[in-house]
């Protein structure tokens, strides 16, 4: 009992204290924001990057934006080349009609899913730790979906005919085929992109207002003033706002499941061995969340380091994300095993051949990269030492990203390259597609770094609302829970006021409201 959590003293250095692994608190939950922060210092911490004058952008960020802009420009050039020449610049051949175009699409759309999961599902489950990572996870979602959308819109061949995907009245009286999984996909991805933007923007408005109110620079005042819609933090507005946020979350949560389910239908509804399986929807959703959380970590770990946000994105957040990766990674591993079991147990020789061919056929290397990155890597997170080691987490998150790209490659290409007719068997080799993939990365990072530069990367109003000071009964550190006089007025949703465990830096807070 003497080893109470209060025994751990956090260092005063904001560069260090976010990385200290605290023991599990004996009751309640750990404080979400570390260090001696009040509301104002949270604002200062988050706005520092956004408010730096343009010419004083940190050099690292400048270099990053320039590099990503070069990648995005290359993508633009590549799209022009594709537009001019057509998909003949790819290595797609007769049985392998879908290759990197679709692999990249599924890869990017999958990455997006973690953002929605964090912003919607964790919100509905009242996981308050999400508040410090949801903003940039949502931004990641939007930019990833933009990349996915460009991959899938550019793979159609006659790109200028893409409007045929939408039900637009025309003189021929034709409508798209609503029974086709590919049409379902058009609706799913577009809905997902739009709803993600609405959700993200709704969350951003109060923080844009913060930037508007703090700046003296004319263009910023106009820019953030325009974006913040005249938000003034009125309680009457907050009530409708919170309800709208809740409704958007409630719709986004099933939406995120449906989107990747429908993406998996693109494969599963066909009759191709290796694609035609009922396990695809849950397996794709788990894989999407798995890869998305890995990407959140890939982005969050450098961001918290370079932007000085360790007090809000603490080691605890990273550990929680690693736990999600462990869970979803294990689900993905289970799905791999189950696919093999079903291939054997069904007794279907085509199915059996496809799976043996994946393991030992011409694309054996892709299969084994996928297996080692996706099945072995997440299992390391059973160990707390690894979960809470930032460097190892970062490296493993990159492995997961690689593994999940190869998963889509294995599913798409290895299932196609061995047709039912052996005379049409072929081997797919990419030609210029590497630039396609690199270009989408350029676009993604270009948008993301611009976001980091100009938009608040932490949802300030939400972080403030989960700080102990935000509780109407809070009367300063060291005070016992006050406010019993108010308890009668709104007692049913009364969160016990936090009591702080003694030492500097406030190691523990007990929040009795949940138990």
């Amino acid at each position: 009992m003497s080893t109470s959590t209060a025994a751990v003293t956090l260092p005063n250095d904001p560069k260090l204290r976010g990385d200290v692994v605290l023991p599990e608190p004996l009751e309640g939950r750990e404080l979400l924001v570390r260090g001696d922060h009040d509301f104002h210092s949270v604002t200062e911490m988050v706005c520092a990057v956004n408010e730096a004058p343009i010419l004083k952008t940190p050099n690292g960020l400048k270099f990053g934006i320039a590099l990503a802009a070069a990648g995005a420009a290359m993508f633009g050039g590549y799209v022009g080349y594709l537009f001019w020449e057509g998909p003949g610049i790819w290595g797609n051949n007769n049985p392998v009609g879908w290759a990197w175009d679709i692999v990249n699409f599924v890869f990017w759309v999958g990455i997006g899913h973690a953002g929605t999961l964090i912003s919607a599902v964790l919100y509905l489950f009242r996981q308050k730790w999400r508040t410090s990572i949801n903003r940039f996870a949502e931004a990641m979602t939007i930019f990833a979906v933009a990349c996915a959308g460009s991959c899938v819109a550019l793979h159609t061949g006659r790109i200028w005919m893409d409007y045929y995907l939408f039900p637009i009245p025309n003189q021929m009286g034709l409508w798209p085929n609503f029974r086709s999984p590919l049409e379902w996909d058009v609706f799913a991805v577009n809905t997902y992109a739009l709803v993600s933007i609405l959700f993200w923007y709704t969350g951003l408005v109060p923080d844009f207002a913060t930037l508007r109110d703090r700046t003296a620079v004319k263009w910023r005042r106009f820019f953030y003033g325009f974006l913040s819609l005249g938000w003034r933090g009125s309680m009457r507005h907050w009530m409708t706002y919170e309800k709208a946020y809740q409704i958007l979350a409630a719709f986004s949560a099933p939406l995120v499941l449906s989107v990747h389910t429908i993406v998996s239908f693109d494969f599963a509804v066909s009759q191709l061995p290796g694609w035609h399986t009922t396990i695809f929807p849950p397996y794709f959703v788990a894989g999407a969340i798995f890869s998305g959380f890995a990407m959140v970590l890939t982005l969050a770990i450098p961001a918290r380091e370079w932007l000085g946000l360790k007090d809000v994105i603490t080691i605890r957040h990273i550990e929680n994300m690693n736990k999600v990766i462990l869970l979803t990674g294990s689900l993905v591993g289970y799905a791999y095993g189950m696919e093999f079991f079903m291939a054997a147990y069904s007794g279907n020789q085509y199915e059996g051949f496809t799976f043996l061919n994946r393991m030992g056929g011409p694309y054996w290397w892709a299969y084994w990269i996928m297996m080692s990155c996706n099945v072995i890597t997440p299992q390391l997170f059973w160990f707390k030492k690894i979960r809470t080691n930032i460097k190892i987490t970062f490296i493993l998150s990159i492995f997961v990203n690689i593994g999940m790209w190869f998963e889509r490659f294995v599913i798409t290409v290895t299932s196609l390259h061995r047709d039912a007719l052996p005379s049409s068997w072929d081997y797919f080799v990419p030609v210029t597609e590497v630039f396609f993939l690199l270009g989408t990365f350029g676009l993604f990072f270009f948008l993301f770094l611009l976001f980091v530069r100009f938009f608040p990367v932490i949802a300030m109003s939400e972080v403030k609302a989960v700080m102990p000071q935000a509780n109407p009964h809070w009367e300063g550190y060291g005070h016992a829970a006050g406010g019993h006089d108010h308890a009668g007025e709104h007692g049913h949703d009364h969160h016990a006021a936090p009591a702080v465990g003694g030492v500097a830096g406030a190691a523990v807070v007990t929040t009795g409201g949940h138990s």
């Binding site: 409508w175 085929n177 709803v195 009125s234 409708t240 007025e489």
Partner: protein, 178 residues
Amino acid sequence: MSSTKPWGLLAQYENPATLTHACSRVKAAGYEKWDACAPFPVHGLDKVMGIPATKLPWAVLVVGITGSTFMLFFQAWAMGWAYPMIVGGKPLLSIPAFVPVWYEVTVLSSCLTAFLGNWIMNGLPQPYHPAFASKAFERVTDDKFFIMIESEDPRFDSEKTKTLLQESGATLVEELEG
């Protein structure tokens, strides 16, 4: 003293506890045209202030059901009547195959309503508000808490209202020009 009637009074508070306390006093004094502003939604303050529940969910329900029904019938009409064509051996009215698009449009119409309804019901965008003229009010999106009482309120009395706000723990009381 300017001859025009002020728009109202603005009082600043330092933390959610004093704001909540002050709101209950303003409410008890019977004011109607008043508001509290905070950098984040203060827990339980809506009940103290007596803010009625928002009607937004009803708008979302109505538009959601409308959009959903429209899309189901639209798909049935487009696939079964307008340009009837058998694809993949499915019947013309193949409702299971219509479910994904039906579902997505339900989500889309509901979310658009929630998004637009939020701003419309709140009267935003509103580029100008009398409180924006106050220097102190710039911190409402940072770390300060405010109450404003409009002079339109029947109980408004520049002296009495000012005293009420000052006694309720305000660190600053300002007059806002209209």
